[in-house]
C-alpha cells in the first residue's frame, strides 16, 4: 500500500514530472553558469594574452599581437555558440554537448595562451567539475575525448604549446590522461549519485504531495460531514421541539373542539331565536356575529395546529383545480375583496391529495385576502397552468408585498407578521406541497405578493 492510498500510478507519474522539472531547472541553472563562464573566459583569455604571451614560450619575439588576436577571435568563436545555445535552449542535450566540447577547447586555448604553464592545466579539472554540475555523466565523454585528442595532437606537433617545453617525455600525455580519467571516474559517480538522489527526493515529494492532497480531501469531507451533522442535529432538535409543542397543541386543540362546537351551537340557536322574535337590540345581533367569526378563527387555529402536528401521508386522486379553488375561496371570509379564478377551461386534472391541497389554497388565499384588506381595489387571483409535465398554481394579490427579511422566513413554522396568527399556515402549506414532491416560493418582485406552487406530474411525492 503506497502512501497515496492505492494510487501507485499517480505517484509514479507525479514523481517523473517532478524529476523532469528538477532536472530541467538544474540544466537551466548550469547553462546560465556556463553562459557567464564562457563570456568570462573570453575576457580572461584576452587579458592573459595581453599580459603573459610576450613572456611565454616565444620569449621576447614579437608575437604579442598574434596571441591577442587568437584570444579575441578564437575565443569569440569558441564562446559565441555555447553562449547562444545556453541562452536559447538551456535544457537541450545539444547545448550541453556543445558546452562540454567548447569548455574543453577553452582549456586548450588557455593552456596555449599561458604558454603551456602546468598550473593552467588545472583549468581542465575545473572545467570537468563544472560540467558535472549538469549531473549528466555522458557529457564527460566528449569532454575527455577533446582533452585527450588535443594533448595527443599537440604533443606530437607542438609540444611547447601544451607542456611549455619543446621535448617533453613521451608518456606525459598518459600522466595527464590518468588524472583526467581519475577525475572523470569521481565525477561520473557523483553525477549518478546526484541523479539517484534527485529521483529519490522527487518521489518522496510526489508521495507527500499526493498524501497531503488526499489528507486535505479527507479533512474537507470530514468538515463537510461535521457541518451536515450539526445542521441535521439542529434541525432534529428543532423538529423535536416543534413536534412536542405540536403534540401538546394538538391534544389541547382536540379537547377544545367539543366546547367550541357547543358554543357555536348555542350562538347559532340564540341568533335564530332573536331573528324569530325580531328583537330590536342591534348590539346583540352584532355581538353574535362577532362570536361566530371568532369561533371560526378558533376552529381555524385548531385545524392549523392539528395539520402541523400530524404529517399525513398524501392520498392522491384526480382533483380538478378550478373546483378546488372555488371550494377554498368559499371557505375564506373575503369581506369585499375580489377573488378571481383564472384557469384555462381545458386544464387537465392533476392527481392530488384533495384535503391537503384545499388547505394549501385556503391558507394562501386567506393570506392574500388579509394582505389587501382595507383596500378599495383589493384583488386576489388564483391561477393554474401545466407546462412540460409540471403543474403551477399561483395565488397573487396586489397588497403591499413581503419585505426581503420576512420573505426569508415566511415558510418557517411559528414565524408570523400578523398581529393574529399561529405562524403555522405557510409551514403547513410548504409541508403539504413538499409531500407532493413539489416546492413553493414567494415572488414579490412585481408588486404585491405571488405565491408560486409547483409540483411534478406524478404527485406521488415522499411517503411522509
Amino acid at each position: 500500500m503506497t502512501a497515496a492510498g492505492g494510487m501507485p500510478g499517480a505517484v509514479d507519474r507525479r514523481a517523473a514530472e517532478l524529476f523532469d522539472e528538477r532536472r530541467n531547472a538544474n540544466y537551466r541553472r548550469t547553462s546560465r553558469i556556463f553562459a557567464l563562464l564562457m563570456a568570462g573566459q573570453w575576457v580572461f583569455a584576452i587579458a592573459v594574452a595581453i599580459l603573459f604571451s610576450p613572456y611565454g614560450w616565444e620569449g621576447k619575439q614579437k608575437a604579442v599581437h598574434a596571441h591577442v588576436w587568437i584570444a579575441i577571435f578564437l575565443g569569440g568563436t569558441l564562446s559565441s555558440l555555447p553562449i547562444y545555445l545556453t541562452l536559447t535552449q538551456p535544457t537541450s542535450a545539444l547545448t550541453r554537448n556543445v558546452v562540454a566540447v567548447a569548455q574543453m577547447l577553452w582549456s586548450a586555448v588557455l593552456i596555449h595562451l599561458s604558454g603551456g604553464r602546468i598550473e593552467t592545466h588545472f583549468h581542465v579539472f575545473g572545467s570537468l567539475a563544472f560540467l558535472a554540475f549538469y549531473r549528466d555523466w555522458k557529457l564527460l565523454l566528449p569532454a575527455t575525448v577533446v582533452v585527450a585528442a588535443d594533448h595527443l595532437a599537440r604533443q606530437m606537433f607542438w609540444p611547447e604549446s601544451v607542456y611549455g617545453i619543446v621535448n617533453p617525455e613521451w608518456w606525459r600525455f598518459i600522466e595527464h590522461a590518468f588524472w583526467v580519467v581519475f577525475e572523470d571516474t569521481v565525477l561520473i559517480a557523483a553525477c549518478l549519485l546526484a541523479v539517484d538522489e534527485m529521483r529519490t527526493t522527487t518521489r518522496a515529494q510526489a508521495e507527500v504531495e499526493l498524501l497531503s492532497d488526499s489528507e486535505r480531501a479527507k479533512s474537507r469531507a470530514l468538515n463537510h460531514a461535521l457541518d451536515e451533522l450539526r445542521t441535521s442535529q439542529e434541525q432534529l432538535v428543532r423538529a423535536e421541539k416543534l413536534a412536542a409543542v405540536g403534540q401538546l397543541a394538538a391534544s389541547v386543540g382536540h379537547e377544545l373542539r367539543n366546547p367550541l362546537a357547543a358554543v357555536r351551537n348555542a350562538s347559532t340557536y340564540i341568533g335564530k331565536r332573536l331573528r324569530e322574535s325580531n328583537n330590536g337590540e342591534p348590539r346583540v345581533r352584532q355581538f353574535l356575529d362577532i362570536m361566530d367569526r371568532e369561533l371560526d378563527g378558533c376552529a381555524k387555529i385548531i385545524t392549523d395546529l392539528l395539520d402541523f402536528a400530524r404529517e399525513r401521508p398524501i392520498q392522491a386522486r384526480p382533483c380538478p383545480l378550478a373546483s378546488l379553488a372555488a371550494e377554498a375561496i368559499a371557505l375564506v371570509p373575503a369581506s369585499r375583496t375580489a377573488i378571481e379564478i383564472d384557469m384555462p377551461s381545458d386544464l387537465p386534472v392533476p392527481s392530488l391529495d384533495r384535503d391537503q391541497f384545499r388547505q394549501v389554497l385556503i391558507n394562501l388565499v386567506q393570506n392574500a385576502v388579509e394582505a389587501v384588506d382595507g383596500r378599495e381595489d383589493g384583488r386576489v387571483v388564483v391561477r393554474a397552468s401545466r407546462l412540460d409535465g409540471h403543474w403551477q398554481l399561483t395565488v397573487s394579490d396586489n397588497g403591499p408585498g413581503v419585505d426581503a427579511e420576512a420573505a426569508r422566513h415566511v415558510f418557517e413554522p411559528l414565524y408570523t407578521t400578523k398581529a393574529k396568527g399561529t405562524g403555522l399556515g405557510l409551514a403547513i402549506v410548504s409541508a403539504a406541497v413538499r409531500r407532493h414532491g413539489g416546492a413553493i416560493r414567494l415572488d414579490s418582485s412585481s408588486g404585491g405578493a405571488t405565491f408560486v406552487v409547483e409540483w411534478p406530474d406524478a404527485a406521488a411525492g415522499s411517503p411522509m
Binding site: 382536540h254 379537547e255 373542539r257 367539543n258 366546547p259 367550541l260 362546537a261 357547543a262 357555536r264 351551537n265 348555542a266 347559532t268 340557536y269 335564530k272 331565536r273 369561533l295 376552529a299 392539528l306 400530524r310 392520498q315 386522486r317 384526480p318 382533483c319 380538478p320 378550478a322 373546483s323 378546488l324 372555488a326 371550494e327 377551461s345 381545458d346 387537465p348 386534472v349 392527481s351
Partner: protein, 230 residues
C-alpha cells in the same frame, strides 16, 4: 311532523345545544348521553336518523353504530368527531356509517345533512361498469342503465349521491341535467386512466373524481364526502 333524530353525546353542552338547534330546525329530537342510553332509546322507539359522537366513555360511537345496525337496520347513522380521519372511523364508513361530521360544525348544515340522510339515503350508480365494484359494499344502491333511468330515480327523490362511470355516460351533460333536478346532489365520477380530459368544464363543478380501479375504501369515503357537501 319532522324527522325523529337521536342525538348521542356524553358532553352535555354540545348535545343539548345541538338538540336545541335541530328542534328549531323542525326535527323531533331525543337525546342520549351514552351508547347504552342510546340503545335503550332505540329499542323503545323508532328513529329516522341517529347522530352520535365517536369518543364516549363505555360504548364508542362506532360500537353503537354496529349495535344499531342489528337493532334498527337501515337507519342512517352519522358520526361526529373532533378528530380528523381516524382508523376506526374509516373502518366504520366501510361498514356503512352514513357520513362523518367534523367538530366544530355549523348546526344548520348538520340539519341539512341529517334531513338528506333520511330523505335521500340512496346511491345511484349509472353505467354497468361500476356495479360490480359497488355490490360488495354495504350501501343502499340503485342502478340506472342510462340517463333517463337516472333522471327518473333522482326525480323520485330518494337519491343523495350519483356515481357516474365516464366510460358509459357523458358525465358533463348528465351532471348538468341531474343537478337541475336536485342542486344538493353529490357526484362521484369514475375515470379510466387518462380519461380525465373527458370531464371538460363539468370538472369545474366539484364532483369527486376517482380513477379506476377504485379501492372500496376510497369509494365509501368519497360517498361520505359527497353526502356531506350540502
Amino acid at each position: 311532523m319532522g324527522h325523529r333524530v337521536l342525538v348521542v353525546d356524553d358532553e352535555d353542552g354540545l348535545r343539548t345545544t345541538l338538540a336545541a338547534n335541530l328542534e328549531l330546525d323542525g326535527f323531533e329530537v331525543v337525546e342520549a348521553d351514552s351508547g347504552a342510553a342510546a340503545l335503550a332509546r332505540a329499542s323503545e322507539q323508532e328513529f329516522d336518523v341517529v347522530i352520535s359522537d365517536v369518543r364516549m366513555p363505555g360504548m364508542s360511537g362506532v360500537d353503537l353504530f354496529r349495535r344499531l345496525r342489528e337493532l334498527r337496520p337501515g337507519v342512517p347513522v352519522l358520526l361526529m368527531t373532533a378528530f380528523t380521519v381516524e382508523h376506526v372511523i374509516r373502518q366504520a364508513l366501510r361498514e356503512g356509517v352514513h357520513m362523518v361530521v367534523p367538530k366544530p360544525f355549523d348546526p344548520e348544515r348538520v340539519g341539512r345533512q341529517l334531513r338528506r340522510a333520511v330523505d335521500r339515503p340512496l346511491v345511484c350508480v349509472i353505467g354497468k361498469g361500476a356495479v360490480a365494484m359497488i355490490g360488495a359494499l354495504s350501501l343502499p344502491v340503485r342502478v340506472a342503465a342510462d340517463e333517463a333511468e337516472a333522471s327518473a330515480l333522482v326525480e323520485g327523490g330518494q337519491v343523495g349521491v350519483c356515481i357516474i362511470d365516464l366510460a358509459t355516460a357523458d358525465a358533463p351533460r348528465l351532471i348538468g341535467r341531474l343537478r337541475a333536478l336536485d342542486p344538493g346532489l353529490g357526484f362521484i365520477v369514475l375515470s379510466g386512466h387518462g380519461a380525465d380530459h373527458l370531464l371538460g368544464p363539468a370538472a369545474q363543478h366539484a364532483p369527486e373524481i376517482l380513477r379506476k380501479p377504485v379501492p372500496p375504501q376510497d369509494l365509501v369515503e368519497a360517498i361520505a364526502r359527497a353526502r356531506g357537501r350540502v
